[in-house]
């Protein structure tokens, strides 16, 4: 595999690396969009935390924990942005092994609801390592794809990338966390596409997966997963049972109207009709309390953010930066569409968070690290010389 072959050359490259960063290239827009999205997420957490006799700042409230995580995320972003992203290529293998280690650890000692092992408790706070694993996966894949050079279009690129994604994806599925494993798939496809993988082969493989789908359905998926995957297709779901979340979520969204009911005024949210409000179904609060226009603002922020990430990739002086930007953009887009689609009933119910907005420490820290890498790419680019 090309992954190892270029290692000596890369080590030899060390001498050519820039010693400083070009801070004027720091992308303030990128940070602004991300901060705005995270702020909206905090607003949602605030709305969910206040109530009669409950201050949003109570220790342990969703809002208080959200603030803490946001602060931590800013620090992580700063450190990673200062750090030269080129070193990530060097340490791709250890990072890959570390990623697999984290996932194995999660399986071994993780806790979760209903027989799943998804979180690890650190100091009383649940931490989802699969979120970190997603960013590490992007780093590892970017490192691999960046090394392919002229051979990017060969089948081996696709096979190699798939082989790299395989073990973490299987480990995540074993938790079982179908949603996150789908994100891995989304990242893989997005990165292969943007790195110049053969469209013919991609198409062929996609066809093969479609053909194999009935087999996967029958043998791999668990009953509750199938139920969640099909609920959204059912026009008359069992609203007291498996369709309850979706039903209540759509009521919340639909009753929001143009402008929403106002922050902290959403009855579906405040009276606890929405399940997992601040995490997976944060979009429902958003739609209920801030309305259609609030959602459109959030969508536009996402579009702008993805645009800035792609710009960083375009400007990157090496294929690693390009591939990494593609991976991060793919991840954010995939999660946006699947998560929000779930909230409004056009996507199956999976436990995928809405980037920046959903409450969740690991997700936010991982995204901060991802954006930090993007800024690192920005400040270490050379002006395009074409």
């Amino acid at each position: 595999m090309g992954f190892g072959r270029t290692e000596t050359a890369r080590v030899r490259d060390w001498g050519n690396r820039p010693i400083g960063a070009s801070w004027p290239a720091f992308d303030l827009q990128l940070v602004t969009y991300a901060v705005l999205l995270a702020t909206i997420g905090l607003a949602m957490a605030y709305s969910n935390s206040v109530g009669p006799g409950a201050s949003a700042l109570n220790a342990g409230s969703t809002f208080a924990r959200g603030l803490l995580w946001t602060g931590l995320a800013v620090v992580v972003f700063g450190i990673v942005a200062v750090f030269d992203y080129q070193w990530l290529r060097t340490f791709a293998w250890p990072l890959y092994l570390g990623q697999i280690g984290l996932l194995v650890l999660t399986l071994a000692v993780g806790t979760g609801v209903g027989g799943v092992a998804r979180w690890i408790l650190i100091g009383g706070m649940a931490f989802q390592f699969s979120e970190i694993a997603k960013i590490l996966m992007i780093v590892v894949l970017a490192s691999f794809l960046g090394s392919r050079g002229d051979r990017a279009g060969s089948l081996r690129t696709i096979v190699g990338a798939a082989v790299l994604v395989g073990p973490p994806l299987v480990l995540v599925m074993l938790q079982p966390d179908l949603g996150t494993s789908l994100v891995f798939g989304g990242i893989l496809v997005g990165m292969l596409f943007m790195s110049g993988a053969s469209l013919r082969w991609l198409g062929a493989i996609a066809s093969a997966i479609v053909v194999a789908f009935p087999f996967l359905w029958a043998n791999v998926l668990r009953d509750y997963q199938k139920e969640r995957l099909t609920t959204f297709l059912n026009p008359n779901p069992d609203i007291q049972g498996s369709g309850y979340q979706l039903y209540q979520s759509q009521i919340a969204v639909g009753s929001g109207g143009w402008f929403g009911k106002g922050l902290t005024n959403g009855t579906q949210n405040q009276l606890d009709f929405l399940p997992v409000q601040t995490t997976d179904f944060v979009g429902a609060i958003l739609a209920e309390e801030l309305g259609f226009l609030g959602c459109i603002v959030v969508f536009l922020l996402f579009a702008a953010l993805i645009w800035r990430i792609l710009v960083a990739g375009w400007r990157s002086r090496d294929p690693f930066g390009m591939a990494f930007a593609a991976g991060l953009a793919s991840m954010i887009l995939f999660q946006l569409v699947v998560n929000f689609g779930m909230v409004i009933g056009i996507m199956p119910i999976t436990g995928i968070p809405l980037p920046f907005v959903s409450h969740g420490g690991a997700s936010l820290i991982s995204l901060a690290a991802g954006l930090g890498i993007i800024q690192s790419i920005n400040v270490r680019q050379r002006r395009a010389e074409w």
Partner: protein, 647 residues
């Protein structure tokens, strides 16, 4: 590669560092647009196009129309003394929809322990509820405050369980008026089906019997409605709006006087208990209006036990009591009237001209029809007798002859005139009609005509004759008031919550008897003669003028000595201003008047006493009512011992 345009840059060392593919960037951007566009389109569909639908659903989710119960009207006696009050109590209810099935066994077991109930009873209550799964089901009423608080605080462990403050009926005198006032209780499934449209709820309380049930509509009032907000767990978070205020129910002012009721109960209890009996009835009525002043039926029960929620075992005990305490024996049961029925035969004979007031009939030891002998009660007779003599001595052979002259159908006609064989229309539930035998009646029920001997029996209130005590006192009231049969009534006024009378009851005439005043005057004198000739022992010695008729009604099967068991009756009326006067030493002028405002009836079931216990009971009541200091009661007459020998 697929012919993608590639833009390359060269690094300082000449190696291509990156390959830029504008088309793929473009495609990616397109994917972003398509993704966000789809989300926006769906959002537009939900939030803008279907906003009203989902707004309604959200509203329905969070709001609940709660009924606001109206205060039930009270019940007062004729002197405005309260007979019932509404006491706030805690009740425990379960809303089945909010109780997950898998937690139900735990919740039911916990509740059973806290409330001291059988878990099976709780399960039955939940499962037999006729309402929807969202209607609360009452599990227990009148729960102690500490238990109610504990349950209210254990919300999380007891999903679907709620504590309601409910008004329970507290009956001031309990057993004294149970059979008249009745009680309220949880609405039954059948009642709910019939009344749901009128705003009754699955966990509602409703008048179950007595006046509480007859005047349910007036007493209940109108429930209000309140819009409340609730959360997903079903807990009410706040009151949004009171849509309609509840309107309190109207109150009843009864014709019953608590004082008279207590006297009547005291008199009846004394007589019954002294004689070692169990069952008896006493009624006091105003013949001028049909108003009931007192109505006692023994044995009685405590209606508070029902309003508190009676246990199944206690209820079964009441149902299985052979003396049927749950029945008001004044209206819900029928008994042979015995000699009190001779009023019918006497009025009939006089009115139809079969006899005149002066007509003498020979009374004998017995009359014969074919082989069968019909004995005088003393087996001797009283010689030649006119109606005063025959009625006074209660001569059987006298009335056999009058009945024979009338024939069964005319006898039946006059019985019907006096209100027998039909409900009196008193405002109590379950009134029975009794039987007035006629040829047609016997053909219809037994397929044969009446035999002559049966006419004899019917003439003295035996055989097929059965009547209710309320019919009997109503007939004598018509005699006392000069021939008007009134509908007996228990309610004087219905009073609105503002204290204003909304409905004042007037005397209701059922019919004017088709007899001359002369006939009735003769019969009143005959009734006075019963007392005068000491047929009723020393009743004549009372300082007041009393007229009446006793009855000894045989029933059932003879004992070893060939003696039949019997009930004792006495029904009397007292003229207005009843004090004996020098100008009217016999009291005959007093009973010629039709101004009596007091009729009294006593009935003792299966008495078999030496003397007529009912007469003693009425005597005792009259002593109390008129404040007669001297005690005329003859306790010796109340000893068990069959004075009335049959053959």
């Amino acid at each position: 590669m697929t012919g993608d345009p590639v833009m390359s840059t060269l690094s300082l060392n000449g190696r291509p560092e990156t390959a830029r593919r504008p088309l793929r960037f473009f495609v990616f951007a397109l994917a972003v647009l398509i993704g966000i566009g789809s989300l926006s389109a769906r959002l537009f569909y939900l939030q803008i196009l279907n906003a009203s639908r989902y707004t309604t659903l959200a509203q329905a989710n969070r709001t609940l129309l709660n009924p606001l119960p109206a205060a039930r009207g009270l019940i007062y006696d004729r002197d405005k003394q309260a007979l019932v009050s509404n006491v706030p109590t805690y009740s425990v209810k379960i809303t089945p929809a909010d109780l997950p099935l898998r937690r139900r066994p735990d919740v039911v077991a916990t509740l059973a322990g806290l409330l001291g109930l059988d878990p099976a009873d709780i399960n039955t209550a939940i499962d037999s509820s006729s309402g929807s799964r969202f209607d609360p089901v009452r599990i227990a009423s009148d729960v102690p405050k500490s238990t109610a608080n504990f349950i209210a605080e254990s919300r999380l462990d007891l999903p679907g369980v709620q504590i309601d403050v409910e008004a329970r009926r507290q009956y001031v005198d309990g057993p004294l008026l149970s059979q008249v006032v009745g009680y309220t209780g949880p609405i039954s499934a059948a009642q709910l089906r019939a009344l749901r449209d009128k705003g009754y709820l699955g966990d509602d309380l409703i008048g179950k019997t007595g006046l509480e049930s007859v005047y349910e509509t007036a007493l209940r009032g109108t429930y209000g409605q309140q819009l409340v907000e609730r959360n997903a767990a079903g807990q009410q978070t706040k009151v949004l709006e009171t849509i309609t205020e509840p309107k309190a129910g109207s109150s009843l002012v009864l014709t019953i006087s608590r004082r008279e009721q207590q006297m009547a109960e005291e008199a009846l209890k004394w007589g019954i208990q002294t004689a070692g009996l169990k069952r008896g009835v006493m009624i006091v009525m105003n013949p001028q209006t049909g108003e009931i002043l007192a109505m006692v039926s023994l044995p009685t029960y405590d209606n508070n036990a029902f309003s508190r929620g009676i246990s199944n075992s206690a209820y079964q005990a009441l149902l299985n009591n052979p003396d049927q305490p749950l029945l008001n024996h004044a209206v819900n049961a029928r008994y042979p009237p015995g000699s009190t029925y001779k009023l019918v035969t006497g009025i009939g004979g006089l009115a139809d001209g079969k006899i005149a007031a002066t007509t003498q009939l020979q009374t004998q030891p017995f009359l014969s029809i074919g082989e069968t002998k019909f004995y005088e009660w003393n087996k001797q007779g009283f010689g030649a007798c006119d109606i005063l003599c025959g009625f006074g001595h209660s001569s059987d052979t006298y009335f056999f002859q009058v009945a024979g002259m009338l024939g069964i159908d005319r006898l039946g006609y006059w019985a019907s005139q006096l209100g027998f064989g039909q409900p009196t229309g008193i405002d109590l539930p379950g009134e029975v009609s009794g039987i007035v035998p006629t040829n047609q009646w016997k053909l219809d029920t037994l397929g044969q005509p009446i035999f002559p001997g049966e006419t004899y029996q019917a003439g003295i209130g035996q055989g097929y004759d059965v009547v209710t005590p309320i019919q009997m006192i109503n007939a004598y009231s018509a005699l006392a008031n000069g021939g008007t049969l009134y509908r007996p009534q228990l309610v004087r006024d219905i009073v609105g919550p503002d204290g204003k009378v909304t409905q004042a009851f007037q005397p209701e005439v059922v019919r004017k008897l088709e007899v001359s005043d002369k006939v009735l005057k003769t019969m009143r004198e005959a009734a006075r003669n019963v007392v005068l000739i000491r047929h009723t022992y020393n009743l004549v010695d009372l300082p007041i003028v009393v007229a009446g008729k006793s009855g000894t009604a045989e029933f059932g099967l003879p004992d070893a000595a060939g003696r039949l068991p019997f009930h004792s009756w006495f029904v009397a009326f007292v003229p207005k201003d009843p004090q004996k006067t020098a100008s009217d030493p016999m009291g005959m002028k007093a009973v010629d008047r039709t101004d009596s405002e007091l009729a009294v009836l006593a009935f003792a079931y299966d008495s078999r006493t030496k003397g007529n216990v009912a007469t003693e009971i009425v005597k005792y009541y009259l002593q109390m009512h008129y404040g007669i200091q001297e005690d005329y009661r003859i306790t010796d007459l109340l000893q068990r011992g069959n004075f009335y020998q049959s053959n």
